[in-house]
Symmetry: D2
Subunit: 377 residues, 4 copies
């Protein structure tokens, strides 16, 4: 079967995440990058595109122009990956959705709650798919954790502890020329949340995906430790879920010794589950009163979802890129199904999940401004 024709919006400079999306789209061989509005000028876009093997006339300086022209081409893009700073997600996605071109969009959904709602409306009006790359949900052990929760292995959930500490913003690198840091600490491009938007939202989404619990309210204490920084760089949140479970979320970008230490722990009436992104091929499971068990990717005791999200046998570690590729691979399934008008069930993060994520960011910012008062979601 011919690969799906993919375009990319953003990702033209040495942006980390553009390269990640490209690798993820290639791992299972189901996409081919054929066009892009990789940068904000046609010239830069062509330069970036040439390095990626794109035809010159498929390199655009503007996503609207790209959407218009590609929509008319016989072999135009079937899907686009949007990997720009947050504030561009909505306007870019809108242009492609309204032309029936599928959108695979980086998180958070948008830089404002207003934009998020407009994007939901745009996605609902469109026949095209919208997939949000909360890629951590693609890890095999996370799929297993979700399945175990659903099948009752840990019983009714009581406590959810989730955290995502990093250390790369310990110093004011945004003032030293780090492009990655610049836009992430700029409210114009990131939105009102800094750390909470960049990684807090990942932690929230992961907890939500695994537990299935709906957040009822939160109390957030956002801090900015680095002088001159314009957005939060440390996030403390207390969580109350529908049904009575309680939790905590911590994310930080100023915690030396942490690279990408996303960690989820879920405790129920009958057992506990623990997972750490930096060692993603393991899932700790304790049935209460029994010894801890170390479940592995595609190993003994693997659930169906763990197996189907794995490419190779246990003990040969898969990582972040394979987890990300699972999102792309499953998006490919949906795109292929859509050709025949089918909409199969799936686990991919949707535009609604994206709206929830932006609402979470918004609630954290509002709560923090009110001295960590409880805010309902």
């Amino acid at each position: 079967m011919a690969p799906i024709r993919l375009g990319m919006i953003g990702g033209g400079n040495d942006a980390f995440i553009g390269g990640v999306h490209r690798i993820a789209s290639r791992i299972d061989g189901r996409f081919q990058l054929v066009a892009g509005a990789l940068s904000s000028t046609a010239e830069k876009s062509k330069a970036s595109g040439a390095a990626l093997g794109l035809a010159e006339d498929r390199c655009y300086g503007d996503f609207t122009e790209m959407a218009k022209r590609e929509a008319r081409l016989k072999d135009g893009v079937e899907a686009v990956a949007i990997v720009t700073p947050n504030h561009v997600h909505y306007p870019a996605a809108r242009e492609f959705l309204k032309r029936g071109i599928h959108v695979i969009c980086d998180k958070p959904l948008t830089s404002s709650l207003a934009d998020a709602k407009k994007l939901v409306a745009a996605a609902e009006k469109s026949d095209a798919l919208f997939v949000l790359t909360h890629n951590y949900t693609g890890y095999p052990m996370i799929r297993q954790a979700r399945e175990m929760v659903r099948q009752g292995d840990i019983g009714k959930i009581r406590v959810v502890q989730v955290e995502y500490p990093q250390d790369w913003l310990t110093d004011a690198v945004e003032a030293d020329g780090s492009k990655q840091a610049e836009w992430r600490t700029d409210p114009e491009r990131s939105g009102a949340g800094g750390c909470v938007g960049d990684i807090g939202t990942h932690a929230y989404n992961l907890a939500r995906f695994v537990t299935g619990l709906q957040l009822e309210s939160l109390a957030a204490d956002l801090s900015t430790f680095v002088e001159g920084r314009r957005l939060d760089d440390n996030v403390h949140v207390m969580l109350r879920f529908d049904g009575g479970a309680r939790g905590m979320l911590w994310s930080s970008q100023v915690a030396p010794g942490n690279e990408n230490a996303l960690k989820l722990r879920v405790y129920g009436e009958k057992g506990g589950l623990e997972w750490a992104q930096e060692d993603p091929n393991y899932l700790w499971f304790t049935p209460f009163g029994e010894p801890k068990r170390l479940l592995t990717r595609n190993g003994a005791g693997a659930t169906a979802g763990n197996q189907s999200a794995s490419r190779i046998p246990g003990g040969h570690p898969e990582g972040y890129l394979e987890g990300f590729a699972n999102i792309y691979n499953e998006a490919a399934d949906l795109i292929v199904a859509a050709r025949d008008g089918n909409k199969p069930d799936h686990l991919l993060p949707t535009v609604q999940d994206g709206l929830e994520g932006v609402a979470f960011i918004d609630a954290c910012v509002r709560s923090s401004k009110r001295d960590a008062a409880w805010v309902k979601l």
Copy 2:
């Protein structure tokens, strides 16, 4: 030098903590148990005492009687260990302090803030020492962590994450005959805090000991998950410290897979420190921008405090009992010094630390009742 004559209040039944104190007092050979009010009746006390090799006439059914008689004996106890449920700490300590007998008391200091204040007054009036067994402060790597913070190895502290999850109260074992669970879930004996008093206070004290930071205010969300339980069994707290550091404290007794998973993480402008009680011979240190280092008990890079709190070379693990014994060993130093009227500097938890701990519990309970409103300390 002859060992210090020690008495014990409580610890007569199969109470976990009484045995711990006895072992801790023996490890360095500086105490000898010679008397006790081990149980609430003379008969039971004599039975328990006989098993411990105590003379029958030194086994009392009442701590007041014991205090009176021992104070008159030529070779009466020089110090007592109080290892009863919380509500007995104050009345028992008072009797010995007022007779100039040193007190080594289990935590939390008392079961109420009022008692705590009275005990502070009693201790201040007495010439005798008062030592509180927040024993985790006796671990060599905790001593090293404290020293490293003081000497600036991690710079000004920004974030403090401390947690103490257990799982032994996941079910309602207090209703099934567990004596350990019974009194810990009984407000009459424990005070207003359940999990927060039993182990939350350990977590708080540990963070305080290592960082030296004073807590400015807290917002606490206490939960009771097990039906019929009368006190909290899960504790979520957001922390604000003097000077601007922020933190989180989580303690739980309903988190399956956790035995005694006390863990402290401290992040400053220049580095981070991480320690876990279940693997206490290690301390992770990351100078920001450099690789993580695994510091070990009495190993390469050990500080003076790490070395002096260690008995054997690195790689031969010391544990909980040795940490506890360090409290006893240093208490012995103070008692010996006191014979000559000396009061050397020391690191042992004082009655003031105990008051702070009870104030912490009290603040958590008050905050939680007000829907996790901020409460100043």
Copy 3:
């Protein structure tokens, strides 16, 4: 730049390793699979090829036929991946090498020492490249380990401990229809070594790659624990290296609890290095007399080789497939350079390394037959 046209020999059935090579070849987008002799009949090959998107006329039932025809095509394959059982490596490689088509071949080089020597001769006579996929050498932390050894960070090497235990052959699965097990335990297809050929050779190659040491002699005790098995399933070897270093190699396929627990430890006069394949993003480094350091992929203290073998920032784990892809990516560099007649330096395993590996297997088998007598290499 257009991707390199790749063919594949073997990998048509559900063979684990064929799929791995295909993913590895796609990750960096520098190869395109265009032809294959995927199975031993044209019919099966076409079926497999169709699933992979190959044109029907590029699917062959015979590698010689494929070599002949592809060599004549204007857009014939530039390189082939040989992923068959061991005994096919030599005859297949020969056909492509003699037609100037580059060969990327799975390990071990061949099923016999005689074949290995013939393949070395064939490769030396050819202008085409020959790359052996000892893929573990592609891991970023292994690259760093090698560089650290070379730059003297651990001083002159004294002790090398390498091991590769698995557990999948604990039972006689070769008798229960496991194709993977069948050929690996069949001397006709695997050669005289079972476990020693399948994974012992990986362990040996890894030690060789990192230390740079030449093996002087070995004493091997091969065992077959599973009844009816025709080849060894457990391997114990003592190693003596040129220059005086000593070592041990253990590989096993009957060690329950081990998935792919390849582990290398190297100790020198000035320090030690430790690495485990199942947690490949870490490398432990101890400068003697200092605390252990945890080096990470693309993290603080990463060497040039670590960085250039990494695709994404530290803390987002890369795994086995990325390590494998590094072999393909560097092979692509060499193939591109070869177009202009250039032969740049590289780190890829060569046909000579392959010969060494087969000589190692042969020496182990001979030593073991002589009751673990020392055999020179």
Copy 4:
């Protein structure tokens, strides 16, 4: 019950192991040190004894004098701990055994095989007990491992991997005034084995204790890496057990990054067990085909032997000293039973185990001299 009156031979200077024995003897309060030939002169012995609270007339400069006098005292020592360099074990033990005084002796049994045999004869002739402090056998998880093997949890054993690396002799510290290093590298005091005698024998004994397997033959390659050192500092051994199991033993004192990294792994037809001394409260158990389980000291799934060797609940780590104290505690049981002429079953290492250990050292030395030829035991 009054504590057992204990004497000590050696341990007078700052010797590591003397202090360990004293702490171990105190932890459970069943021994009281009352006499000693702590040093080789009466003067030094009295100085050391004074610091330990011994009466001056119970401090001897000579163990024979001590044995004679104490045997005559009404309250003379009931047992002695021998903690001297190896070559003194036999002559000292002989003097006490022949006077019916129980002996608790450090390992290895003696510095020569001839002495070992004489000591066995002496012990057999005596009514007194002889206990060898292979203290690692006192760890609770080691007791559990042994029980699990016996009850068939891992099936018939196939492979045994045991190792004990250290790094403290990486440099020639014996030439720099380290007393600990001096006698351990001196054949006159240590015997013919250096590393193999000091720690290799621990590794061997541990494997033997857990597996119950009898060693049939071995092939050993001993090395001396540090210039001028008179005994081996690195030990490689291949093992063949009665019944067909195979194994490897590695011990080293020149492996930077290893403090006391004793590790045992045992694999059988049905499962595997893994234990590491530096994290002694854990035991990994994999029933083949199921997830790995992390068994803990006194935790879920603890066997009777694990529980009875534990003092405190799981999650509060016990360590080396508690493991050592288990040896003393069980020796106390035997001594008390012996008063009534009883000889209960026990797990303590005997003089026969000691002879086996010395025979192991002797066989390693002989094998190594013959270029690692197989030597029968």
